[in-house]
C-alpha cells in the first residue's frame, strides 16, 4: 500500500465529508433555530438533483443547472415550511418525525410521478472532467477537487454569515432564546421561513453536485439523510462547527474504514474471509463511531454540556 493511495483516499474522504456538510448544515440550523427534526431534508436533496438534471438537459449549462437546483429546493422548502412544517414547531419530536416521514412518501412518489421511474442523466461539465496532477505525483479527479473547494467555500461563507451579518445575529439569537427575538420585534415567522429555505437550498445544491457523479433517481436522498443525521448528532445538534467537523469525521471514517479494514483483517485471516469481515465491519463503522461519541459525550462533540 503506497502512501500516494492513502493521500488519495484521504482526499476522497474529505470530499465526501464536505458534501455531507452541505446537507448537515441545513439540518443542524433548522434544529438549532426551530427545534425541528426534519426528515424531509433528503427529499430536498433529491429535488435539487432532479431540477439540475432537467435544466441541464434543456439548456446544456451546468451553471444554470446549479442555480436551478438552489432555486427549486429553496422554493420547495418555502412551500413545505409555510404549509406544513410551520405547524410542527411547537409539537414534540415524535410528531415531527412522523409528519416529515409522511412528506418523504409524498415527495418521493410525486417525483416518480413527474419524472418517471428511470434515472435521469446529469454529467459534470467538460471543463471539470478528467483529472489534475497534484504535487508529489498524485492524480486526482478535477471534479472531486472542485467539490472540496466549493464545499469549503460554502462552509466559510456560512460561518461568515452567522458571525457577521444581521441575519446571522438573528439566527444566533433564535438559537439562544426564542422568546427574546420576538420581544425585540423581529418577525419570527419570516426568519423561520428564511432559515428553512437556506437549509433547503444547501441540500438542493448538494444533490445537484453529487448527482453529477452519481445517479439521479428517486430515493437518492434517504441514505444521505441518515448519514447527515449521524453527522449532526456526532457534532452536536445545532452547532455549525460541529456539523463541519462531524461531516469530515464521518467522511474519513467511511472512506478509510472501507479501504483499510479489509487490509487489516488480511493480516491474520484468509483473503476472502478478510474482505467479507472487513467490508461488514466497514459498513457498520460510522454507526459505531456515532455510538462511541455519544457514550463519551451524550450531547455530541460541540453540543454544550
Amino acid at each position: 500500500m503506497s502512501w500516494i493511495l492513502l493521500v488519495e483516499q484521504t482526499l476522497n474522504g474529505l470530499q465526501f465529508g464536505v458534501m455531507l456538510f452541505l446537507m448537515a448544515a441545513g439540518l443542524t440550523l433548522i434544529f438549532g433555530v426551530m427545534g425541528l427534526i426534519n426528515l424531509v431534508h433528503g427529499s430536498l436533496y433529491m429535488i435539487g438533483a432532479f431540477a439540475a438534471a432537467a435544466v441541464a438537459a434543456a439548456t446544456g449549462s451546468f451553471l444554470l443547472a446549479l442555480i436551478a437546483s438552489l432555486a427549486a429546493a429553496a422554493a420547495a422548502g418555502v412551500v413545505v415550511e409555510t404549509t406544513v412544517i410551520r405547524r410542527l414547531y411547537d409539537r414534540d419530536h415524535l410528531d415531527q418525525v412522523l409528519a416529515t416521514f409522511a412528506l418523504i412518501l409524498i415527495f418521493s412518489e410525486g417525483t416518480r410521478w413527474v419524472f418517471g421511474s428511470f434515472p435521469l442523466f446529469l454529467d459534470p461539465p467538460d471543463y471539470l472532467s478528467g483529472s489534475v496532477s497534484l504535487p508529489f505525483g498524485i492524480e486526482y479527479s478535477r471534479y472531486r477537487l472542485s467539490l472540496i473547494v466549493v464545499g469549503l467555500a460554502v462552509a466559510a461563507g456560512l460561518f461568515w454569515m452567522i458571525a457577521k451579518t444581521r441575519i446571522g445575529i438573528r439566527i444566533r439569537a433564535g438559537e439562544n432564546d426564542r422568546e427574546m427575538i420576538g420581544a425585540l420585534g423581529i418577525d419570527i415567522s419570516s426568519l423561520y421561513t428564511l432559515v428553512f429555505a437556506l437549509g433547503a437550498a444547501l441540500a438542493g445544491l448538494a444533490g445537484a453536485l453529487i448527482g453529477a457523479i452519481q445517479s439521479v433517481q428517486v430515493g437518492m436522498g434517504e441514505p444521505v439523510l441518515i448519514l447527515a443525521f449521524v453527522v449532526i448528532v456526532i457534532g452536536g445538534i445545532g452547532s455549525i462547527k460541529g456539523a463541519l467537523i462531524g461531516a469530515i469525521l464521518v467522511g474519513l471514517t467511511d472512506t478509510l474504514g472501507g479501504f483499510l479494514l479489509p487490509k487489516l483483517f488480511a493480516l491474520f485471516l484468509s483473503p476472502s474471509a478478510a474482505t467479507s469481515v472487513g467490508s461488514s465491519l466497514a459498513s457498520m463503522s460510522i454507526y459505531i463511531l456515532m455510538a462511541g461519541v455519544l457514550l463519551v459525550r451524550p450531547k455530541g462533540l460541540f453540543g454544550g454540556v
Binding site: 409539537r91 418525525v97 409528519a99 409522511a102 448528532v233 450531547k299
Partner: protein, 327 residues
C-alpha cells in the same frame, strides 16, 4: 373513559368477526391480512410500552422486530436442514416448535434491548432518537453481510413451525394463535400499566425529579421499560417471520422502525389499544390504497400527515376524546 372502553371491545370483536366470516366464505387471504394486523399490533404495543408510557422515542425498534424474526429463522433453518446450530462447547440443535422459538425470541430481543437501552439511555431527546436509529442501522448492516444466514436474500423456511394440536399452515388456526397472544400481551401490558412500576414509570415521564424524590432511579425504570418493550416487539417479529415463512434484513431497516412508530401514532400514543387500532388501520390503508394507483404512497403520506396535523392523539384521540393526557 366509557367510549374508549367500547372502542377497545369493538376492536377486539372486529378482529375476530372478520376472520370468522372470511373462514365461512372461504376467503383465506382476508384471514392472513387480519393476522398481519394482529402481529403489527403486538409490535406496536411493544414500542408503545417504551414510547407511550416511558416517553422514550425509539427509532430503532425494527432491530428487536428483526432479531425476533431471525431467532425464528435460524432455529427453524437448522431444524429443517438437520444441522446443529452449535457444536462446541455444547451441542445446540435447531427447533421448529413455536413455543420454544417464542421464548428464545423474547430472551434474545430482551437482552439486545437491555444492552442497547443501557447505552442509549445515557442520552435524551433527539440524541436518544438518533442513537437508537444508529444501533438499528448497525444490526441492519450486520444482517446484510451475515452470509451464513442468507445475507440480503434472507432465510426462507418452507413450512410454518409447529404448535401442539394445531395445523399452523391453516390460516385460521395460525390466526387464532396470534390473536390469543395479542390478548395475553394486552392483558400483561394493562396490568403493568396499573402496577406500581407502571405508575412510577409514567410519573417519571412527567417529572423525573419527583420520582427521584421518592427514592426511585429513573434510569432503572426506563431501562426496565425499554427491555420489556424490546421483548414484546421481538415476539411480534418471530410471529411475523412465521406468517411469511421468511425473514430478511428488511425487517430491520429504518423504514420498518418508522412503520412501527406509525402504528402507535395512528392509533394513539400511550393507550393500551392504540397500536391495535393503528396497525389495523395501516393494514387496511396499505391494502386498499395499493389497489388504487401505482403512486399510492402519495395518498398514504397525505393521510399520515392529516392525522399528525389535525387528529392529535390518533384514532383514539379522535373517537374517544382526549381523556388520557398525551403530553
Amino acid at each position: 373513559m366509557k367510549r374508549e372502553f367500547l372502542l377497545n371491545g369493538g376492536l377486539l370483536i372486529l378482529l375476530v368477526v372478520i376472520p370468522a366470516v372470511a373462514w365461512f366464505t372461504d376467503e383465506p387471504f382476508l384471514i392472513t391480512l387480519v393476522t398481519r394486523a394482529v402481529i403489527f399490533s403486538i409490535a406496536g404495543i411493544g414500542l408503545n410500552f417504551a414510547l407511550g408510557f416511558g416517553g422514550l422515542v425509539s427509532f430503532g425498534h425494527a432491530a428487536f422486530f428483526g432479531l425476533g424474526g431471525y431467532a425464528m429463522g435460524i432455529l427453524a433453518y437448522h431444524a429443517q436442514t438437520y444441522t446443529p446450530m452449535l457444536e462446541w462447547p455444547v451441542l445446540v440443535e435447531g427447533t421448529n416448535s413455536m413455543m420454544i422459538i417464542w421464548v428464545i425470541a423474547i430472551v434474545v430481543s430482551a437482552l439486545a434491548a437491555l444492552a442497547i437501552g443501557a447505552l442509549s439511555l445515557r442520552t435524551t431527546g433527539v440524541y436518544f432518537i438518533m442513537i437508537t436509529l444508529a444501533f438499528g442501522q448497525m444490526l441492519y448492516y450486520f444482517t446484510i453481510s451475515w452470509s451464513a444466514y442468507g445475507g440480503e436474500d434472507g432465510l426462507s423456511i418452507y413450512v410454518r413451525n409447529g404448535f401442539p394440536g394445531l395445523n399452523t399452515m391453516d390460516p385460521i388456526q395460525f390466526f387464532i394463535i396470534c390473536y390469543v397472544l395479542l390478548l395475553v400481551v394486552v392483558y400483561g401490558v394493562y396490568r403493568a400499566e396499573k402496577s406500581p412500576f407502571g405508575l412510577m414509570l409514567q410519573a417519571a415521564r412527567q417529572n423525573e425529579d419527583r420520582v427521584q424524590a421518592v427514592g426511585q432511579v429513573p434510569y432503572r425504570l426506563y431501562l426496565t421499560a425499554f427491555t420489556i418493550s424490546g421483548a414484546i416487539t421481538g415476539l411480534a417479529g418471530a410471529l411475523f417471520a412465521d406468517l411469511n415463512r421468511f425473514v430478511s434484513p428488511s425487517m430491520l431497516s429504518w423504514q420498518t422502525s418508522g412503520e412501527i412508530m406509525i402504528f402507535v401514532i395512528l392509533g394513539g400514543v400511550g393507550r393500551v389499544f392504540g397500536p391495535v387500532a393503528g396497525a389495523a388501520l395501516f393494514v387496511l390503508l396499505e391494502h386498499s390504497l395499493g389497489g388504487l394507483s401505482e403512486y399510492w404512497h402519495i395518498y398514504l403520506g397525505a393521510i399520515l400527515l392529516g392525522v399528525v396535523l389535525f387528529a392529535r392523539g390518533g384514532l383514539f384521540g379522535l373517537i374517544a376524546g382526549r381523556e388520557v393526557a398525551h403530553d
